[in-house]
């Protein structure tokens, strides 16, 4: 399927950029005329992926997090990429309630939230080589519905 539109975003790995990232992606995805619920799902999933990049990918706030968002006919594809320390055991990291940082009172629900809120989730990573999280959200785009953003 052909890409209808694409945007790339780069920002420093600082926690104050989490809100910016999720709002920017949601605003871009709004071109597909998603429902309020679909927009909320996208914002939450992006927030989780960006938080992971900032907390787990990097040790310092001066690294770069990249987001690529592509719009297709009836879905949006979002990639959140860091060049940080990478994930040793992806299956373990994706387990509900698993966290490598319990001292920060992390819930360990980040990947579970991404998986539940989005239609596809792929994680590519290797130690020392960064992490790429690819997510897809199908947008129903049914003009009969009245609850539109």
């Amino acid at each position: 399927m052909n890409v209808k539109n694409e945007m790339k975003l780069e920002f420093l790995s600082r926690s104050q950029n989490e809100a910016f990232a999720r709002v920017a992606v949601a605003a871009f995805a709004a071109q597909l005329d998603p429902t309020l619920e679909e927009i909320a799902d996208i914002k939450t999933a992006v927030s989780e992926a960006v938080t992971n990049a900032i907390i787990h990918g990097y040790d310092n706030p001066n690294e770069t997090v990249q987001i690529i968002t592509r719009i297709y006919d009836n879905y949006v594809e979002i990639e959140v990429i860091d060049q940080g320390r990478g994930i040793e055991d992806i299956d373990l990291a994706r387990q509900p309630l698993y966290t490598s940082k319990p001292e920060l009172e992390r819930s360990g629900m980040g990947f579970t939230v991404m998986e539940t809120f989005m239609d596809e989730l792929e994680v590519s990573s290797a130690p020392g080589q960064g992490t790429k999280v690819r997510m897809v959200k199908n947008i129903s785009n049914d003009t009969q519905e009245t609850e539109r953003d």
Partner: protein
């Protein structure tokens, strides 16, 4: 992200305003813990009417406070849940451990009903 706290006897009522993500989680956690240093607080009501966004960082904050309060034999309630928070509360399992009420008044009435 802002938080307003109000005391009613052994109940602490906290109204949360804004978006609870990783960036705000630490500040909110520290403010809540400061309030909860007062051991006479047994019940915590988190009013979510004006909390417009929460991700799993918020889940961590809620579960941590839940542990503190239940150790005291108390209870954590959530009130005024808006549609934006519906799914995250469901997915996280928080709905199974926190008592949910439509309004702060209902939560207070229920606590008063059981504590007397």
């Amino acid at each position: 992200m802002q938080m307003d706290c109000k005391r009613k006897g052994d109940i602490l009522i906290v109204s949360m305003n804004g978006e609870l993500d990783h960036h705000h989680a630490e500040k909110i956690r520290d403010s809540l813990d400061k309030q909860l240093e007062d051991n006479s607080i047994r019940y915590l009501i988190l009013d979510l009417k004006n909390l417009h966004f929460m991700d799993s960082s918020g889940i961590g904050v809620f579960i941590g406070r839940y542990k503190t309060i239940t150790k005291r034999g108390g209870r954590v309630c959530i009130t005024n849940i808006n549609p934006q928070l519906d799914r995250i509360l469901e997915v996280s399992g928080l709905r199974r451990i926190l008592k949910e009420y439509d309004t702060v008044k209902h939560a207070v009435d229920s606590i008063r009903g059981v504590s007397k």
